[in-house]
Symmetry: C2
Subunit: 322 residues, 2 copies
């Protein structure tokens, strides 16, 4: 059984990132004191709370691989949300050390700080990438064997292994979330950002990696964090693994058409061809979300709606920036 909650701050690594800053805000809104840790390499300081919102908030600018800079903040903490990660999945293929360092070794340091300070609860952002290309759709948490295709996914699985071992060996309670594609304000990578950037460079042609049939689920950042909170409130095992996604998926072709429409509708699509967009890519992804559904969390937006809302946000932000 999970130990009782204790009062105390929440530590959020990657707290200046897209998902991390949404988590910081949601925890503050619950009245929890929050300390964010972020290297500001992928994250951005403007994502952090300011003004009245920042009364119970503190920030440590540090890479999570440098625990001496932040380990004292773990003293008395009630929970860790370890969300820091390499946000660029494709980069791992050309530089295999990136995900070892930013994924596995970084997670080791955060787990060690949690262990030394007896922090009772550990939230970890894993990924649907741990499944690789499964043979079962929608894919349940019980699927195996896990064969990640990207180094990013390989090191997410590596971190899951360490998190489970720490939970069982040292008595912390773990919440592990296998995310679908998470999209929303503040994101710096992913298919939508890619497409907008490409159209800015060449408004006549949108190059799409693969054949356009790749189809995945997309979940908004705020809904993702809400799912994590529901799991933290209601799950009772020592290690709690949950998929977080939607019940539908949307193809790359549909996304490309939506982005082109938002951009004036004049570009043609040029597919590079092939079933897989890039080395390490998983062409089909649809997660079973019954397990978190039994705890009462259900996504409000479909993948298509999440994509629409995010496209509108990006288009508006880029208009303002001109």
């Amino acid at each position: 059984m999970a130990p009782a909650h204790r009062d105390g701050p929440a530590i959020v690594t990657g707290g200046a990132g897209a998902i991390g800053s949404a988590a910081v805000r949601a925890l503050l809104a619950r009245g929890v004191e929050v300390c964010a840790i972020d290297s500001l390499v992928g994250g951005r300081k403007e994502h952090l709370p300011h003004g009245a919102e920042a009364a119970r908030f503190s920030f440590v600018e540090s890479d999570v691989r440098e625990p001496t800079a932040y380990q004292e903040r773990f003293r008395g903490a009630a929970e860790i949300w370890h969300l820091a990660a390499n946000p660029d999945i494709r980069r791992g293929t050309s530089d295999p050390r990136v995900d070892l360092e930013n994924g596995t070794v970084a997670t080791f340091h955060v787990l060690e700080c949690a262990r030394r300070h007896d922090v009772p609860r550990f939230f970890f952002s894993s990924s649907s990438a741990v499944y690789g290309l499964p043979t079962v759709f929608p894919t349940p948490e019980s699927y195996g064997p896990l064969e990640p295709r990207s180094l990013y996914g390989g090191h997410k699985l590596a971190a899951e292994g360490m998190v489970a071992a720490y939970a069982h060996s040292y008595g912390l309670t773990a919440f592990v979330f296998r995310f679908a594609n998470i999209i929303g304000p503040g994101m710096t990578h992913g298919v939508l950002i890619d497409f907008f950037d490409k159209l800015r460079r060449d408004p006549t042609t949108l190059e799409v990696l693969g054949d356009g049939h790749q189809a995945k689920s997309y979940l908004r950042t705020d809904e993702c964090v809400e799912g994590m909170l529901v799991a933290g409130d209601r799950a009772t095992d020592r290690v709690n693994v949950f998929n977080l996604g939607t019940t539908d998926r949307i193809s790359v072709r549909e996304i490309a058409e939506k982005v082109i429409a938002a951009h004036g509708g004049r570009a043609r699509i040029a597919y590079t061809g092939g079933e897989v967009g890039w080395v390490g890519d998983v062409p089909q992804q649809l997660l079973a979300i019954d397990k978190i559904g039994h705890l009462g969390w259900h996504p409000k937006l479909t993948s298509a709606q999440a994509i629409d809302r995010t496209i509108t946000e990006i288009a508006d932000a880029r208009k303002c920036a001109r």
Copy 2:
């Protein structure tokens, strides 16, 4: 599909260990040129082949975390057998860095050498420890989610994640083996060595961790290596995960009684109590071996027979050593 084999040497990390030296011998017996890499911290030089047996054998004394010492040996190699590991599962709990370094980081270096030299086949010794305490017995390879209980198991899962990602990202073929308890000549750790050492210190009382009901499968080293060779000859996927064990299990109590009988039969057993022998221990283990069975490999000895044979070997060796 798996790429065609290529001719060339096999590299065996941990080649001076109990399983590694059995692998070296089996590969040499097939006419394969073998290069063993071992730090000689856990492994022993006397386990390595000598005399006529050593004609096609070479040895590099190096920790696998120091790839500069051995990476050139990967040039032209046909396959890697990455068997080096921390042999002392319990040590990880008191020193969490051991399995990170000797498990995950070491495996990263070996994978990197394999990638740089385009070595087509990668054999990896994982462990039943990746399952933690499963809810299904016998446990199939498809079981999930994986919740290792020991740091050793956590880092075996971590390495599995990296191995699968390298296979899918860089085109090597992977053979991943989840071992039951492997016993045989040359082993330096485990329940049998523990019990013999305890009886040497105190011939009247054998302290047994736990309540004696913990029950696991035991497979002999030579049978284990034979299973790996069968998988390498006949499995055809990009990533091939196989359990290797027996279809029966034997309790700690039965093992204790057998060791006491071999030691003169005078000691009484003192149980420390509890369902779990030590932090990170998995009290029940029985692997489904149908998958490797379909390829034609079946263990010849039961767990009880494997224990009996190994007890006789240890008792004989200790008589000679007196």
